[in-house]
Amino acid sequence: MDQPDDEVLIEKSKEGDMAAFKTLVVRHEGQVAGVIRSLLGTTPEAEDVGQEVFIRFYDALNKFRGESKVSTYLVRIAINLSLNELKKRKRTASRYASMEAADGIKGIEETLDLKEHLQYAFDKLDPDFRAVATLRLIEGYSTEETAGILEIPLGTALSRLARAQQKLRLSLTKKLRP
């Protein structure tokens, strides 16, 4: 059976149809989870932020005019709340904090495999770079969409993207050698 599109579900939700709103949550959970977990990691705060995204969306339903897609709107809230969370905790590599304390940064880099090291280097990126890289490189949005979601000029998005990739490559140089 064909599912109704987002606009129909939003109208129904505005009229108090909770089942319609639940369908929207189910439909967009993946994208929101992807963005938040790329920025915050698989942490309890990530789910809290995810919940906050949908609660804020519910609260703003009557203000939603459909000028942007629902997914874009939700991802924008997700990015903003995740960046706030990062600023709040200021422990950009918290999931590796105990390992860093034990082995030091050089030590930990040697013990991680390539994929883990990439994750580690990604977590070390400046939050603004990470936001751009999350949308473009992980979630696969176009550069224009990425700039639009983050409300930054296209040139800024491109420059942050290039800088983020360069930092990742330089961090992984040894392990990337064939």
Partner: protein
């Protein structure tokens, strides 16, 4: 650590994320073919991009939507409860003020009549008489 972009590295990265001119594309193809360092960088960047790109949808785990719906429901109930008690507080206050006014009126008029309690003035015999006299004088 050198974190400056070479002209070719910048072009290489831009070619994946933004449109490049035909001339730039030709230049890049030529550089990648003839410059082993740029070729290696290109391979490394492509490997990083491939590893980062999500291939499976993410999720917050089972029953996430149910948790959201429960939160909304609980919050709505909580708001209804707060509104009820907010107004209840003022209702009690209003009744209290009314009772106090009635009691004070009763004490001031020293009468246990409804007019006295509600502060409605009762005309005394003197008041009625003086009004009659005044009206007679005018005539």
């Amino acid at each position: 650590m050198n974190d400056h972009f070479s002209e070719h590295e910048e072009l290489l990265l831009r070619s994946w994320d933004a449109p490049v001119s035909a001339r730039e594309r030709d230049t890049l193809a030529e550089v990648i073919q003839n410059n082993p360092a740029i070729r290696q960088q290109s391979d490394q960047y492509q490997k990083i991009r491939t590893m980062l790109l999500r291939t499976e949808p993410d999720s917050f785990g089972p029953f996430f939507a149910e948790r959201i719906m429960n939160m909304i429901k609980q919050r709505t109930q909580q708001i209804d409860y707060l509104i009820f008690f907010f107004f209840k507080k003022y209702q009690v206050l209003l009744v209290g003020v009314l009772v106090a006014l009635l009691v004070s009126n009763m004490l001031l008029t020293d009468q246990l009549t409804l007019k006295g309690i509600f502060g409605l003035e009762q005309e005394t015999t003197e008041d009625v008489f003086s009004i009659d006299l005044y009206e007679n004088l005018i005539k």
